[in-house]
Amino acid sequence: MAGALINAPERAKRGEIIEIKTLISHPMETGYRRNQSGVRVERDIVRLFVCSYNGTEVFRAELHPAIAANPFIVFSTIATESGALAFQWTGDNGFSVTESHAITVD
């Protein structure tokens, strides 16, 4: 069961730098480990995280096998206008989670 937690301000002043914290539930299996019978465990990681602000991409991160389970990504952007922040995580085995966060800018 995939879940995500977003912590971003609901209101901000125009031009203000806002911090956005995201946490996604994911095992981040590296693909380098072997199980008890010596068989390699298939890689299963989040490959890409993208945040768009009213359709404009403001942050993008590529993830790799060395990143711990349940990736926690924090970044900042400038509050320009009211609207929605859209978050998307995509990864191996068709993993895809989207979340959205409304923000009012005055």
């Binding site: 879940g3 937690l5 912590n7 914290k21 946490l23 539930s25 981040m28 711990a68 389970a69 349940n70």
Partner: protein, 259 residues
């Protein structure tokens, strides 16, 4: 003439010394949180940085979801967990009259699930069971640990205490030798904590996931090269009960983060 009572006096002294070394004074008790680095503390303090909250989120959904042949959700009987489950985790393990012995929080949830919801039992350490336990435990955050130690519970507390003080495994160590006598010192670069179960189930960075107190205890047993008890056996529940009574009055910080 002196040697005869001299030996007795020495033995009394040894016994007295052992009794003193065996207990951490109340004022010196510290949660594992206080031994953590600033970064790990920050992770626990911020609910959006604490990965255990992902399980809480899932637990909240399970709380409201109907399950089993009875078609009932936890919420159908217990209502809003924020009020009805307040302090419940701080009181477990608690006496279960049906079994005539204490059961822990996971076993309480499971008993409800099997008897009232008529749903198949969940496996120990399964994501669903941990999620429900984390959601229930969150409602006790900030409350003091308050297990009831009454006459019918005493034998089980004593049994847990005996396990805590019994040397076992190939390394021939007891729990108390590390956690009573050497807390605050280092074991392979890690600080030895006092073993107060204030934050379970908790997110352990080493596990990269949420785990119960029993998982932690089994890890310790493997560490001293003893055969770990199976999940849910009376020995582990008694040990949990002893640890909770030993930490009575300390504040719950579940679901916690630990290194």
């Amino acid at each position: 003439m002196a040697p005869r009572w001299g030996l007795g006096a020495v033995m009394v002294l040894i016994v007295a010394a052992a009794a003193v070394a065996g207990e951490i004074p109340r004022a010196e008790r510290r949660s594992g949180y206080e031994f953590m680095s600033r970064d790990t503390r920050a992770m626990q303090d911020d609910d959006t940085a604490n990965p255990a909250m992902l399980w809480v989120l899932e637990g909240e959904a399970l709380w409201k979801a109907k399950a089993g042949a009875a078609g009932r959700a936890c919420a159908d009987c217990h209502g809003d967990a924020r009020t009805t489950m307040k302090g419940v985790a701080a009181r477990h393990p608690a006496f279960d009259p049906a079994r005539g012995r204490p059961i822990n929080l996971e076993q309480r949830i499971m008993a409800c699930r099997v008897d009232r919801q008529e749903a198949p039992p969940l496996a120990y350490e399964s994501r669903e069971l941990l999620a429900l336990a984390a959601f229930v435990a969150l409602q006790s955050r900030g409350l003091p640990i308050d297990v009831t130690v009454e006459a019918r519970m005493q034998p089980f507390v004593d049994a847990g205490g005996a396990t805590f003080h019994r040397r076992q495994g190939q390394l021939n160590l007891s729990c108390s030798q590390c956690h009573d006598d050497h807390w605050g010192r280092k074991l392979a670069g890690n600080v030895v904590p006092q073993a107060h179960p204030t934050g379970y189930p908790l997110y352990r960075l080493e596990w990269q996931g949420l785990g119960s107190l029993q998982r932690r205890l089994r890890g310790c047993l493997t560490g001293i090269r003893a055969a770990p008890y199976e999940y849910g056996v009376p020995e582990l529940v008694d040990l949990e009960l002893y640890l909770m009574s030993r930490a009575a009055g300390m504040k719950m910080d579940a679901p916690a983060v630990r290194p």
